[in-house]
Amino acid sequence: MSFALPGDQIQLQSATNVVVGPHVRLDGTSVTAATAGFLVNTQSQGSAVCYIEADSKRYVPSSQDFVVGTVVGSFGESYRVSLSNFSTPAVLGFYAFPNASKKNRPRLKTGDLVYARIASTDPDLDVELECFDATTGKEGGFGLLEGGFVFDVRLAYARHLLRHQDAPVLTKLMKKYQFELAIGANGRIWIKSDTLQNTIECMKAIQNGQNEKQT
């Protein structure tokens, strides 16, 4: 992992079959960094992936991110879902649920929490969400989140936890507590444990984890 500054030329590991991720700018044939952060080169599904890992405070939706959102209203045939406070809400269609039809679809109320996947992020349109697995079309853990509590963490930390489900803080918590967890790449984590006290304790543990050094 190397450190990149905005404008730095990035050396790709292979010339073909490369996916450029967040904060990497592709301009014709030149590949440059668009922000300051750590350059990551990995392999995913048979192609090389190159992106820059940088912490920021405001969440910018990117396609296929898993997010925890709050329903703030509905209009036409879709719900408006807030991904972070004071940002433009995203759109979740009434039929963006598994097996949803006109007669049979989840009825969400204002203030409900949903776990969703970002389906599209066209700069000229509203961000679109979906509540089903992209490959299977099944539920896949998405949908309404009932009970529990939701709290904010740093964006880089949320991404880290999403990628490393074996992060020490989570494995250690799992030994001691029973809980359900939904991590949103928008820096929101939903947690529900058997008792209120345990939920608070888990929340504190996860929140404190973001101040530790990540490897």
């Binding site: 406070n85 203030g111 409900d112 009932e146 509590f149 608070i200």
Partner: protein
Amino acid sequence: MVRDYDISNNERQFVLQALEQNVRLDGRKLLEMRDVDIFVSPDEYGYVEISLGKTKVACRVTAEIAKPYEDRPFDGIFQISTEISPICSPFFESGLTSGGKQSNDEVLISRLIEKAVRRSGALDLESLCIIAGSKCWSIRADLHFLNYDGNFIDISSIAVMVALLHFRKPDMEIDGNNVILFDQDQRNPVPLSILHIPLCFTFQFYNPNDDEENIKGNLNNELILLDASLIEERLSLGSMTLTINKNKELCQLVKSGGLNIDASLIMNCCQHASNLVDDLTKKINSVLKHDAHLRENPLEKELQVVNQRDT
């Protein structure tokens, strides 16, 4: 258009359930305050930074010589500026984007501070008079809100009072109609004359029952908590601010609308605040005393220079 925080029903229910069990998200009891962290500038007079958990404000006091108001020739001038910029949270809009209109919260905070500090006579205005009708000191306290996690009112009152206590104005001499000011090197600057230290305590109210019980019932089990965090403040059904000093003088009691609260509960709040004000005043005095001590013995400061460590 002012936008509010998007608080989900899950958070609302969870916080209220926790409060009913006398538990708060940060592990406090209902009537417990967060730790007050007071930083007074060691290099200059009249600059302080106060933190209450994640809520943080800075206050700077400045003085200049001005002409007193026509109708008050024997009084000095004291102004407090409380403009909340969106730097602390996008919830507060800047004057530029909202067309110069202040939000309700902002107006409420500045009026409460104004009443708590200025109109309770904490600063002796008559001592600021230099030459009646023509020259007086004009003292200005600028509050800067740096981060918002609830309870701006209490922290602002602490910040203004600590800054006033910490401030020193240049010493001067009157020669006929001329005023001679002395530099800090020539004569020691003089402190302001502070008559008492009023501090604000804000209580938030929640109703575990239905409205009917609140209005007619005799249960009086409304939840009352002190020093609310952001989410608690956004969810509260009403608030009350007490301004009190360590002589147990109640300078102000403001409860504008909100939940109906029985008078006996309000008396309990007053009692609780009067206990807290002693500790807080002691803490403020000890911080200022320590600062004064370091100024008198500058060597001591040099000898105990330590690297700042992340906690």
